[in-house]
Amino acid sequence: MIDKFIEDKGDKIVVDTEIEGRKGIIDFDTLRSGGLIKQKQKDMFTIRLRCPGGRIPLSKLVKIAEVAKRYGSNYVHLSFRQSIEIPYINYRHFKAIYDELAEVGQKVASCGPRIRVPTACSGCEYNPNGITDTQKIAMLVDEKFFGKDLPHKFKISFSGCPIDCARTSENDLGFQGAVKPIWDETTCVGCRICSKACKEGAIISESESGKPIFLTEKCLYCGDCIRSCPTDSWQEGLKGWIVRVGGRHGRHPIIGCKIAEFLTDEEIPSFIEIVTKWYEEQGKEDGKVRIGVILQDQEKWSNFIQTLKENFKDKILNDPRPPRSMEIHF
């Protein structure tokens, strides 16, 4: 979006705050890595804040409003990835703004070829559909991986259920909450509510007894049957994260497909570690290319899946589909 206005890359400016360990004469690329995006207007920048999962404590929100009022315009902008951006900031005020935001622990985001701030839905804390704690894990992943340099930008998102509000298929790496239902015949009274509650036709009630027939291949693991069963005959079985890889939006969108099932919270950091390490290695050969493009090469796809299988065994699907390009222009 705003990135396209950075045309005068040769330009350098002097800043009195430290960005990525540098001070003084800094070029625009360095500024972008510090979440500072050049505007059309002379000397003006947009500051993108780091708001993992789109959750902003009120103490920070008040301070952001103060800073925006003092140094910026009369509004802030919500970025497409859940962060607050403060437009119309003169670069002379970078240091003052960094310092004031630091008083409440508010950090600045990042642009460019690296791991971005993770996005997430509200998760299982108060959303009735939520299966997994997306907010907790987004915070943890932000803490551990934010800013890691990679061949190209790398976006991670977390959805708490198969409705997938965080669009896991459109991110370089997406994690979606899932729960496998288990049925207990002894407590089931054949009321048929589960077959009504299931939106996927994965549960059919036997015409005589009303007892459910479960069609695994149709199940999205949303847990509606578990939540609706009056006798608790549907119980939580395996619970965790479905993983999608290689998605992106932009000029040439790619849809990432499911590659793994029921990853635990504890496995997520090592999963990201292994995927980004593979990507880093591959990038040495391919240059500045998104992971979804690399993974469309059949040989590289097999190698990628093999690498994951060595580490995550049967949690990796047997014959997963590689990311698919979507033509949207012609």
């Binding site: 009321c191 048929r192 009504k196 609706s228 009056p230």
Partner: protein, 86 residues
Amino acid sequence: MNEIDKERVDQHLNLRGVLCPINFVKIKLKLEEMNDGENLEVIIDDGEPMQNVPRSIKEDGHKIIGIKKLADGSFKLLIKKGGIKV
């Protein structure tokens, strides 16, 4: 559970034609007036109401003790007011 007609009915609500989530809100309000352990009989439509209402009743800590499909395609639910407030 299918012996719904033999259970005691303390209150009754006909919610035919009442859409989500108004049907559930009406059930909630009625249950608030009732005592724990009393039974509320409701009639709701098939489709979206049957997809959502039973789950919401359960999440609020009540128990569905009976269910019956009626001749017109709607459903009769018998709800026992629960003491658990979620």
